[in-house]
Amino acid sequence: FRLFPYMPKWKKNEVTYRIVNYTADMNQIDTDAAIERALKVWSDVTPLTFHRLREGEADIMISFAVQEHGDFIPFDGPGGVLGHAYPPGPKINGDVHLDDDEKWTKDTTGVNLFLVAAHEFGHSLGLFHSTDTKALMYPIYNANTDLTRFFLSQDDIAGIQSLYGSPDGPVPPTKSADTEKPEEKPVTCDSNRSFDAVSTLRGEMLFFKDRYFWRKSSNNIEPALYMLTTFWPSLPSGFDAVYELTTKDMVFIFKESKFWSIKGSDIQPGYPRDIYTLGFPRTVKKIDAAFFYKEKQKTYFFVNDIYWRYDEKRHSMDHGYPRQIATDFPGVNQKIDAAFEAFGFFYFFSGSTQFQFDPNAKRVTRTLKSNSWFNC
């Protein structure tokens, strides 16, 4: 997904809309219904609500027009361009214009109004075009979309939630959402904050806890909190360990005796796999923490008070392992929840405490709060 430059968004959750005029192709009730359903696509996955006005200036003014219609971007007759919309903001911004030289229908015998309107509303809310062919925000109209089972792609959801967050209530069921009750959102600056796993990802840092994770990027002081299902709806929650193999732009996610490989938000085919394919003995039931040390091309896996070292070039465990953690990482004497490598240091997380370890000096150089990265 992509956002507009400067990321314009509505600075409120109650957005108004008005159907300024109607196409003669459909009866007004069907047009109303298509517009409402198209707005619901977005309100279902954000805190946004849409209130209809019957007169005056609404945030999103929806109109049908042909050829030149007052915004210097004329439509082009039947086919080609079906409509366009403007990013959030005053006056024409947020508005949706639909080309009435198309044959608008409530099914796909013509151009489906619901589908095109839902796409244009994505622009009205701040989304740019996506290159993901499965995304609603992909610019090409897909007449083969199954309207009876329409749902936003993860790309669309990730995009709109990066602007407005997820709905305050539970996220509406997607194909694979768990049916458990979503527990309270974790408090970012809780002084007892602990993590299930921590990893880098394409220059950002991800801190995982239960069904959530924080994304911390270098250009944002504060981390942003997301639900795992925003990006990885088919993964279980409560990861045990996560590490980024930066040389391959891959992230590996561990839960109990399984692990997945992901690239961005895409799960690689052929996963999950058993951790035993990496060389762990069957006595190991889960991994506590893992990180990749690029300088040595080795990945370190921590289990209770011992650890293994995996050679990412030879794709096998190094000989002479497992070894005692306390022997090779003096000062790291507690059970590790999570770990990652950054700026030449190893960071070990145990409960609400974080140890910064210098692999050259072979000693703990700082003891911090686990959420010290959140600038609380």
Binding site: G79, L82, H84, D99
Partner: protein, 82 residues
């Protein structure tokens, strides 16, 4: 020189191709784009931008896949920011 990309445009008119690249890839609207220019060719660059966006083979030429994509009904908003 390989044939100028526009020469192989086949059924889609030059104007429509130029308008597509102007509308969705910010090709400068100065009308003389299709004149062969020794120094650089903004049309080729914009065709490549479009091919990159749609994950097509980036040739800079108006090959069949590229032409097919240009004909598909779509949203009128640009695919790339200026």
């Amino acid at each position: 020189h390989p044939l100028h990309p526009a020469a192989r445009a086949g059924k889609m008119s030059m104007d429509r191709i130029q308008k597509y690249l102007e509308d969705f890839y910010h090709l400068e609207k100065n009308g003389k784009q299709f004149v062969r220019r020794k120094d650089s060719n903004p049309v080729v660059a914009k065709i490549q931008d479009m091919q990159r966006f749609f994950g097509l083979k980036v040739t800079g030429n108006l090959d069949d896949d590229t032409m097919e994509m240009m004909k598909k009904p779509r949203c009128g908003f640009p695919d790339v920011s200026p």
